[in-house]
Symmetry: C5
Subunit: 161 residues, 5 copies
């Protein structure tokens, strides 16, 4: 198995380091890293990792800015990442941390590292332990901030909507 | 016939359980389940179920959050699900329940289960009874909350628009 | 020649009936109907009609709701219908009637039937009489409400912009 | 060389006439015209002109309405035209004139004709004189209203940003 | 190695000159330039440079206007550039400078030249020195205005979120 890590020089945190460290704690697997300028360069970088470097899965790491233009960039990048997956039949786990998701830089850095680390676990599960993901299905997992948790319809189900 | 169920750990309700239960009540069919982290992972998961697991149809189950960012995610996921269908010539029935579609968590859970169960019937109809769908055409069917019902242009049609 | 009609159980008017009736008034042609749950299921339905059922053209009929979410659904469906056309080099005539295009249900039903019937004529023209469309080019044709009509730059062209 | 012209019955000006007249003034080239109902029908029409009629380039002419829904239609059509170009490696020059780009109908008609004629020159340049476009690079060319013109960073470049 | 430069007559600054000058300062490489009318023509121009002219990488240079319509154009062009990359497995470095990114024309021209020159360095790095990009990963690089710089989670990491 081989894991690709695509990251950017635009990001303000070395998310790839967090990803690599989290993966290596879990499994012994070859990792290929590919750094590009910005998030819009990630789709083809991820596809090249999958098709030219023989990766089985890729993490695409980025930190979009807070402006409206940046949100559009992130949307374009995300759409491209989905297209790249459909063209290869392989997963690309997108880890985007938006600058406006934290109130200060320290929290933003913390969030970027933690979300990356938690998604690294998802990568390991998709590759080696898919049944673990199924056991966690519908339980409101979040990456970064705390989980939302499961909800249920209560005893006797929905009474009179 | 084989039905694929793609669901997420992000969702707060075990929608796949509701789907499987509803399908099994109707027909005896093989079901393959595949759980991924979030809704943006669903398009490739569905495509893999169709192409690698031999499924004839897939249900893609997810619960997007209520924030603007989540709406964009849902849009990206939906677009990817449509692309996956066009690439395979097979149906992927999307069942998304948005967190802001219900006023409280219990109703949200109820809605997720009911919409999933009602769409499971659509899956069965598409596979085995397409003529039933044609009989229901234009009748304002809804999944989850109550049907909108059919309307018509009245006696004598439109008088003086 | 074979015409495909893809419609939905979500719509509140039997638009397919209006389409079939309008086509049959004009030409004798084989019609294949395929009903799906909602508008996001139309792109693959149309593609299957073109590729698996041998249709030469398809009408995709739907009635998106009035909420913001419904507008996004319609956008996703429309984009998918355009992709399906590009993948097949065949026309799919989209006939969408938005719930907020009419002030009351009776007018909405009238609008759905009339727009469908008028687009059915476009289907017939595309298949059999493309030169008729060219004669109508640039004349402000509308389907449903009245035509906008042609405009011109006036005698002597644009004087002092 | 063969030029395709795709236009619509929805437009309120015979833009194709303006295009054909402008091209014929410049070069002697075969022109194939294909009229469809609306702008969302243009992507496949353009692709058919390129692939089935042997055109080397296509002009896609349309006049989107002024409502929000029309803007979304134009976005879908434009995205489809870009996809069609990527699938064929040939240019499709989009000429869209939005109804709200002019204050009155006469100016709108004038604008539609002038923008079409100016883009027809671009088509001729792309086919026969690409070096002319390079000489015009970065000079703020506009089609319809007057050119924006070039700007430069001034003597000595940027002083103290 | 061969670098493609796709630019527009719409832009108000000769960005290609800035790109070519910056590349030539760094490496001796063949450059192919292709000028098109506007940014929506860039995706196919870039794809033709990659597939028909044998380029290994392309810079796509453009200056979208400041109006809402222009933002949509830029979004369509960007999406097309990402698709072109996924279809070719090669990088297209997009350099767009929006008219509203600077308060006056002189600064806008300065920004266009500087962003282009800085992205030209990224092109050289992607082609010849990918390890340099990895060393710059997560350091908040920006092209044009000054870099945002790296941030970190502080000593002891996140304490009490």
């Amino acid at each position: 198995m081989k894991v690709g890590i695509a990251d950017t020089t635009f990001a303000r945190v070395d998310m790839a380091r967090a990803a690599i460290s989290a993966i290596k704690k879990e499994v012994s697997v070859e990792i290929v890293r590919y750094t590009v300028p910005g998030i819009k360069d990630l789709p083809v970088a991820a596809k090249k990792l999958l098709e030219e470097k023989g990766c089985d899965i890729v993490m695409a790491l980025g930190m979009p800015g807070a402006a409206e233009k940046d949100r559009v960039c992130a949307h374009e990048a995300s759409s491209g990442l989905i297209s790249a997956q459909l063209m290869t039949n392989k997963h690309i786990i997108e880890v985007f941390v938006h600058e406006d998701e934290a109130s200060d830089e320290r929290t933003l850095a913390w969030l970027a590292e933690r979300r990356t680390a938690e998604h690294a676990l998802n990568v390991v599960r998709l590759l080696y332990y898919p049944e673990k993901l199924t056991r966690m299905a519908g339980t409101g997992q979040r990456q970064g901030y705390e989980d939302a948790g499961p909800i249920d319809a209560g005893l006797g189900g929905h009474l009179g909507h």
